[in-house]
């Protein structure tokens, strides 16, 4: 058994960086919303992307899962009910690099041209956020395949995506999600 949040976080990263659903095993809708391996990368050493000492070479298209809060699900949820429904709030940060001096550090996708997209950090960051939101919001990608314990139920964006220009050629997009999940009441979820 692992901690509940470790299992949930693994699922989020599987969707964002490990290509969950790209083989079509989770259905055609999941395939359409899935994110190919190599599009995004996990933040190095699990370091926050706001850390000013975060290495530039690892910054572009890095994603970071930032747990913010956890609460009981607002629906009826007696303490002895099984399963237990909960709702966590989690911020997904996705980074882009901009500025002509750092074109060599971009992780390009599709038809992107470094010289062009290096000057379009805002639309690039928002587009990446939207791509992630489509994938995390897809029920088959989130819940499909081998059952997970705790089981994620829905990952819904709360509010909008906000952009933050950190200076020094770094821009960060942050999106807060409400992640509903259910736990087995008989399990301790000790690490």
């Amino acid at each position: 058994m692992t901690s509940a949040f470790a299992a949930l976080e693994d699922r989020l990263y599987d969707i964002m960086i490990n290509g969950r659903g790209v083989n079509g095993a989770l259905g055609s809708d999941a395939l359409a919303k899935s994110i190919p391996v190599g599009r995004f990368r996990q933040a190095r050493m699990n370091a926050p992307l706001r850390d000013t000492t975060y290495p530039s070479v690892d910054f572009d298209r890095a994603v970071f899962v930032e747990w913010l809060a956890d609460a009981d699900d607002p629906t009826i949820n007696n303490p002895i009910d099984n399963p237990q429904h909960r709702e966590a709030r989690v911020a997904i940060c996705n980074a882009v690099t901009y500025g002509n001096a750092v074109t060599d550090f971009l992780v390009l996708a599709g038809t992107e041209v470094a010289a062009t997209v290096i000057d379009q950090p805002r639309q690039r960051a928002l587009n990446d956020s939207a791509r992630i939101q489509r994938a995390l919001g897809n029920p088959d990608l989130l819940r499909g395949g081998t059952p997970l314990d705790p089981a994620p139920l829905a990952c819904v964006r709360e509010g909008g995506t906000t952009l933050e220009d950190m200076g020094a050629g770094r821009m960060l997009a942050t999106t807060v999600y409400a992640l509903r999940y259910q736990m087995d009441n008989a399990t301790a979820y000790d690490p």
Binding site: R41, A43, R44, M45, D51, T53, P55, V57, D58, V107
Partner: protein, 158 residues
């Protein structure tokens, strides 16, 4: 008056001799390496693998001195040496003799060009640093002097 490259190289050789002498007396306790990792694709992408590592150990050992400090947080940093207090140290490395006939280094050797599949870091080992050494990243290269170059590095995620 034309530039006098021969005189400059001769001065660099003299400087190199002096720095080697300092190293031989044992006063250069910190070893400095420029390490270039080349990955099969962009670094940190789950399918990328480390293809090769190139290590340039600077010789003679340059002087390494603290250049101020700034507080910071490292996700993977080693805090043991500071008793849990995490400090992003900044150090000045140099002077390092610029390339001449008898040795020295070019600026390109000391600060290799970066790329999305190339991770470059500076590895400082010695009494000042944790067991085995610590990783740093380059923040400044001063090659304005005719015979020498000085690097400024900042401690980074380990």
């Amino acid at each position: 008056m034309a530039d006098n490259l021969a005189a400059r190289l001769a001065h660099r050789n003299a400087a190199l001799t002096g720095r080697r002498a300092a190293e031989r007396t044992g006063v250069r306790s910190v070893s400095v390496s420029v390490i270039t990792e080349t990955w099969s694709g962009p670094t940190q992408v789950s399918t990328s693998t480390l293809a090769s590592t190139s290590t340039l150990v600077l010789s003679p050992r340059p002087k390494v001195v603290p250049a101020g400090e700034e507080p910071g947080y490292f996700g993977g940093g080693n805090s043991a040496i500071s008793g849990g207090r995490l400090i992003a140290g900044t150090y000045r490395i140099g002077p390092i003799t610029l390339a001449t006939t008898g040795g020295g280094y070019t600026v390109d050797q000391l600060s290799p060009p970066g790329a999305s599949n190339t991770r470059i870091y500076y590895f400082l080992a010695g009494d000042e640093f944790s067991d085995g050494g610590e990783r740093f990243e380059l923040t400044d290269v001063d090659a304005s002097r005719p015979h020498q170059v000085t690097l400024t590095v900042r401690r980074t995620a380990q």
